[in-house]
């Protein structure tokens, strides 16, 4: 056999991968909803800007902690279930679970605990660090899955697509903020990009979560097919 034989992503059960995808999607949706609800309240003046900040901070910190732990557990569980390249991928992916924990705490951590020299763009830098902590491991995860020869074909294509999803949802908002505040202040074209980027920022957990669910579904379908009798394979004129 010239190529390695394909394997499902998880040897025994796909539960951890499903759970991982589900929690990430759920967390993404939750932050998006709560975030826009709170910002609507503040934009309409129903709550003061400081009340908005405190509630958002409290929400982000608590849910971030829980999500971070869950992600970590499920990532490790998936790594255990998987083998070879896929295991390494999930192990690397586990690093991304630190991002939700960082979400509400980045500024304080960077500027007071680590004591970075404060500068003009404190919050942009903190935002960038949080995004990097999530985007890099996830991209590595998808890259490894995309070029894993053992990974079912559908899964490889989905992983390949997911690399760009993570890239876009993570770095586009930062690019827009830097453009808006530094390179071209006041440019209406950049103004419209801010409108777009504030929607995209809501998807940065949601879309990767869906991709993982997608992978889980593909892998389960592949596992079910390969377990069924050999004849279905024969019809394809290929001798197992």
């Amino acid at each position: 056999m010239s190529e390695k034989s394909k394997q499902p992503l998880a040897r025994k059960s796909h539960l951890p991968l499903i759970l991982l995808g589900a929690t990430m999607t759920g967390y993404g949706m939750l932050t998006a909803l709560v975030g826009s609800w709170l910002s609507n309240q503040a934009m309409r003046g129903l709550i003061t800007a400081s009340a908005y900040r405190n509630r958002l901070m409290a929400f982000e910190q608590t849910t971030g902690l829980i999500a971070g732990l869950l992600f970590f557990v499920f990532f490790v569980w998936c790594a255990v279930q998987a083998s070879g390249g896929v295991r390494v991928a999930f192990a690397i992916g586990a690093a991304a679970s630190a991002a939700p924990v960082l979400l509400g705490r980045a500024e304080r951590l960077l500027f007071t605990v680590i004591g970075l020299p404060t500068m003009g763009a404190g919050s942009v830098l903190a935002g960038a660090v949080t995004t990097l902590v999530f985007a890099l491991p996830m991209m590595l995860l998808f890259i490894l899955l995309a070029c894993g020869r053992r990974v079912p074909r559908g899964g490889r294509w989905l992983s390949f697509a997911s690399i760009f999803i993570v890239l876009g949802t993570a770095f586009f908002p930062i690019y827009v903020t830097v453009l808006a505040f530094l390179l071209k202040p006041g440019d209406p074209a950049v103004g419209r990009m801010i409108q777009l980027s504030s929607q995209i920022i809501k998807l940065r957990f949601l879309l990767p979560g869906l991709s993982l669910l997608g992978l889980a579904f593909i892998s389960m379908r592949f596992a079910r097919l390969s377990l069924e009798p050999a004849e279905t394979v024969l019809e394809k004129g290929e001798v197992k």
């Binding site: 020299p117 500068m119 003009g120 530094l182 202040p185 006041g186």
Partner: protein, 294 residues
Amino acid sequence: MNERIVKLPFFENLLNLAVLALLGLLCAFPIVHTLALSFSSASAAASGRVAIWPVEFTTQAYQFVLENPAFIKSFGISIARVLVGAPLNMLLTILVAYPLSRSKAEFRARDFFAWFFLLTVLFSGGLIPWYMVIRQTGLIDKFWALIIPGALPVFNVILLANSFRSIPKELEEAAAMDGAGHWTILFRVLLPLSWPILATLTLFVTVAHWNSWFDGLILMNSPDKYPLQSYLQTVVINPDPRMLTERDLALLQLISNRTTRAAQIFIAMVPILLVYPFLQRYFTAGVKLGAIKG
């Protein structure tokens, strides 16, 4: 300096050096602090974190000042002003100092002219008449308006006259014996012996022309004729946000009036740091000794 035959006793010399070193430090600290300020970012300067070392190093202040095409133009004007103005000042100073240094016998009208020039230091008609006279003599908005009105620095004249008078009379009489007129006495005898004071006055005149900004702003009718310091005076960001465009406010994060002003000071010091060491060579005392023996 005069040849020291006897050096200071050890302890006294040490004390002398120590006090001078302390004075040097006392003067050096604000200068180093200002230099550090000119290379620091606005937020570092604003929060007073800059001591003697630049914090959040940036050359934006210098870029803001030097980048503007007006800077190169005004720099050229200042150089031209010094190259034309300083020699003219020195020439007039020498030409006036010599007659004033003659004894009353040699030049009966000496006292009259002495007071004639001194009164101009004490009395001034004020800004309006000075501006009107310059306008009537057709100098407004001309390069020469920066040179001619202030061409005779009376303070320098008095210094030079005083120095000429301290030169031993015998030298002049020796030259006069060989039939030398006033001109030859001045250029052959007095000037060669007054290098130190001439060097000092050249330095003062150069600094005066390089750093004066008020006449440039008042006498010129358009900003592209401003000399350097006049231009630098205008490169100040008005922090009142109501007057600023987005671009200015973006700039305000990088630099503030503090950092730009610090940068301006160092640009003002440039000629001194170049010219002064060169002039100091003439501050040696040996010159007179040679003349007498020779």
